[in-house]
Amino acid sequence: MIALVKRDLILALRAGGGFGLALAFYLILVSLVPLAVGPETGRLAEIAPGILWLGALLANLLSLDRIFQLDWEDGALEGLATAPLPLEGIALAKALAHWLSVGLPLAVLAPVLAVLLNLPGAAIPWLVAALVLGTPALSMIGTFGAALTVGVKRGGLLLSLLVLPLYVPSLIFGALTVARAATEQDPLPSLALVAGLSMASWAGLPFAAAGALRINLR
């Protein structure tokens, strides 16, 4: 399982595309926002928590179809399915690799972008905490969605239609954490809920993802 995570990480780093692309997309999306809504710093600070979370979510979404698609096309997924590791473990490893290569870098990049959007300084640690604790849920839900649509040709749009409604709870609590920190309210309850969502999805969704993979590999 560790070997699989390593392999996916190396592929993400060396094959180009996946790793840097999501970060670049996040950067561009956030820097386009002031151009769209105007440069007043007060207004930007007000919408910053939502924009930062929405950007992270979309950047995450962008890289989802790579989780299984390449392995599916070259047959590596069938090889993995016959490995001694159960499919649940493979789904878990894939989600972990996706989080390490996309979710974690996004959380690291977020403070820089937060400064661009003039988010109050007190909220920045909470932003990082919410993204670090919240993006695992996004990766796991995305892995489930990718497992569902792996057999569909050009399933990218379908994938986003399936996955985005599932992102709703994480988005609500994640953005709320940052917004509460920015307005000097206690952000801890919503942060705890974000973390809870991540843990619950890591506990339950590998089984659903493995079920979907098994059906697709039939």
Partner: protein, 243 residues
Amino acid sequence: MASLWEYANPQRFMAFSARLLPWTAGLAAFCLVTGLIWGFFFTPDDFRQGSTVKIIYLHVPSAIMAVNAWLMMLVASIIWVVRRHHVSALAAKAAAPVGTAFTLIALYTGAVWGQPMWGTWWEWDPRLTAFLILFLFYLGYMALWQAIEEPDTAADLTAILCLVGSVFAIISRYALVFWNQGLHQGASLSLDAETNVHNVFWYPLLVCLAGFGFLFLALVLSRTRMEIRARRLHAMIARERLA
């Protein structure tokens, strides 16, 4: 009494639903006509809301049935996953567009009602937002059915999506309450509450509710029959090609 599972046999289901369909359709028509005419023309106007209150006879039943349609799909999906009855999978597939339509009716009548009452067509209130998200779930579910050609694979994958989606739909519902205390009033109809709406409005509403329930049943039955026939046709064409 015969077991319920006997109707999992498509042949039996077709025979039984052929007998049941005229009754449900007839009851649906009867209840809807009676309930709506009673509600629209023979109930007094509300003293604060005027005649706009009458949209309740469309809004509440369709909203209730929109949620129940998803629950029915959930039960049908579980039956398909556990017992592999094709009729069940097809019933879940058949219910999705009907549920979508009910969701749309509830959203639309809600907007029409909200405009004079709240002064806005749309408000990001937990109930309204939850319904919008339910609508998105229906769209995703139907899109997944469309996208996969192999029927059994499609049935399996949509069943999994329905199960996972249900969990997330419930979480979203409570997340939204946390997110925003809304504008929508609380439930004004429950069987145990003491402060229900007045009986004058209550009885026609019950009739409409029954009408929407029968309508749902009739539509799902006829759509399931259609799906079974389509499946048979498909099998016949495949057999012709082989011969």
